[in-house]
Amino acid sequence: MKVTIKVNGNQVAAEVADRTLLVHFVRDVANLTATNVGCDSTSCGACTVLLDGKSVKSCTVLAAQADGSEVTTVEGLAGGSGEMHPVQSAFHAEHGLQCGFCTPGMVMAAVSLLAENPSPTEEDVRTALEGNLCRCTGYHNIVRAVLAAAPATSERRSA
């Protein structure tokens, strides 16, 4: 079937098999390979992207279900001139990553959280990231990074 999805602001249209998963559409059709396939079973959150602004696990969404929608991947966060999104900057500054495999999903889950709750407590952050697993167990710095990003993220939104 023909699927058209606005990925990071660009319309991407392709004829794909009906069973194509959103994560494969993003990686293999839109050629955006930052979004990782981890567990492939709705657990680890490595494949988290925003679908119409809300975090979803793209291994458990059909591309067909996203037809006509907007998808944002981690590649779509940086500004036009390449400056990092506040959540990306905070992950960098707080060393919120080790091997980096979970990072794209962690960042997108954090962006979704901050859109819903601009000033989360530490407990809010830990609860909001329950669907994202870090095999390096680097959670402390990830949580610090999200907390550090909160003020800058809400400034950017109101700007």
Partner: protein, 273 residues
């Protein structure tokens, strides 16, 4: 993992969804959020030939007051339930339990109707539906009918829905004391299914993952009605249950856990009253 091949069809109304289902018969499945069905399809445990997408039907997404009860559209997401001001004030058990399903990403996609028709006894909302004495509204080739929650869950992954029937609405009576509720579940990781869970609304007590279907803890309810204390009533929590054994615990462990969690839930519910 990818599902076996199927034909995807999107319905633009409930009427169209029912027509499509009538055309394809047993080979078709309705798809809403897909968070129960797609994982099964990826494991090839479900191999439907046709998926009928009802996930974007606005007519199935609502929470509203209606004729003295609360009506919830079957394609309302867990996230929408958890954020509903009406549910938070009138049915806090449902709003809270929905906020505990899976994780934020799952709650953005998964729907109440999907969870109920999947009829996994380890899922949270089927037991909540039992505790709230909900009525399930189904539309099919023979028209619309209402099914009591007590009749709906028939076996593991099996409900009273007939082929071609679509769950459209969950009707929830207003509890006598809406504030008299509790929800407890025990998991190893936050995102896991409950090893055992308990939903309490007033004198109704329902159990997650204690048998082939979600269950009402009848012996606990009878003890409460006879004036037993939470601790005394909770001692009956495992009566009439036959929980499965798996990597998370054997049947005896689950029965012990049921007694502990029912005791905690009854205390919690009482503390809110």
């Amino acid at each position: 993992m990818i599902p076996a091949p199927f034909t995807y069809k999107r319905a633009f109304s409930v009427d169209e969804a029912l027509d499509l289902a009538a055309q394809d018969g047993d080979d078709a499945k309705f798809l809403a959020g897909g968070h129960s069905l797609l994982p099964l399809m990826k494991l090839r445990l479900a191999v439907p030939e046709v998926l009928i997408d009802i996930g974007r039907l606005g007519e199935l997404r609502y929470v509203r007051e209606q004729d003295g009860h609360i009506a919830v559209g079957a394609a309302t997401s867990h996230d929408e339930l958890a954020r509903s001001a009406l549910l938070q004030s009138e049915l806090p058990l449902l709003a809270h339990a929905a906020s505990q399903v899976g994780d934020p990403q799952v709650r953005h996609r998964g729907t109440i109707g999907g969870s109920l028709v999947h009829a996994d006894p380890a899922a949270d909302l089927p037991a909540v539906a039992l505790a709230l004495d909900v009525t399930l509204v189904a539309r099919g080739p023979a028209g619309t009918r209402e099914i009591a929650a007590s009749e709906f869950f028939q076996s593991l992954f099996e409900t009273a829905l007939q082929p071609g029937e679509l769950l459209t609405e969950i009707r929830i009576p207003r509890p006598d004391a809406a504030g008299n509720w509790a929800f407890q579940k025990f998991t190893k990781r936050a995102i896991d299914w409950a090893i055992v869970g308990v939903a309490v609304q007033g004198g109704n007590v329902a159990l997650v993952n204690m048998g082939q279907t979600p269950l009402r803890a009848a012996a606990v309810e009878q003890a409460l009605a006879a004036g037993a204390s939470p601790r005394e009533a909770a001692a009956h929590a495992a009566e009439g249950t036959s929980p499965s054994a798996d990597i998370n615990g054997d049947a005896r462990y689950r029965q012990h856990l049921a007694r502990v969690l029912v005791g905690r839930a009854l205390e919690e519910s009482r503390s809110r009253a």
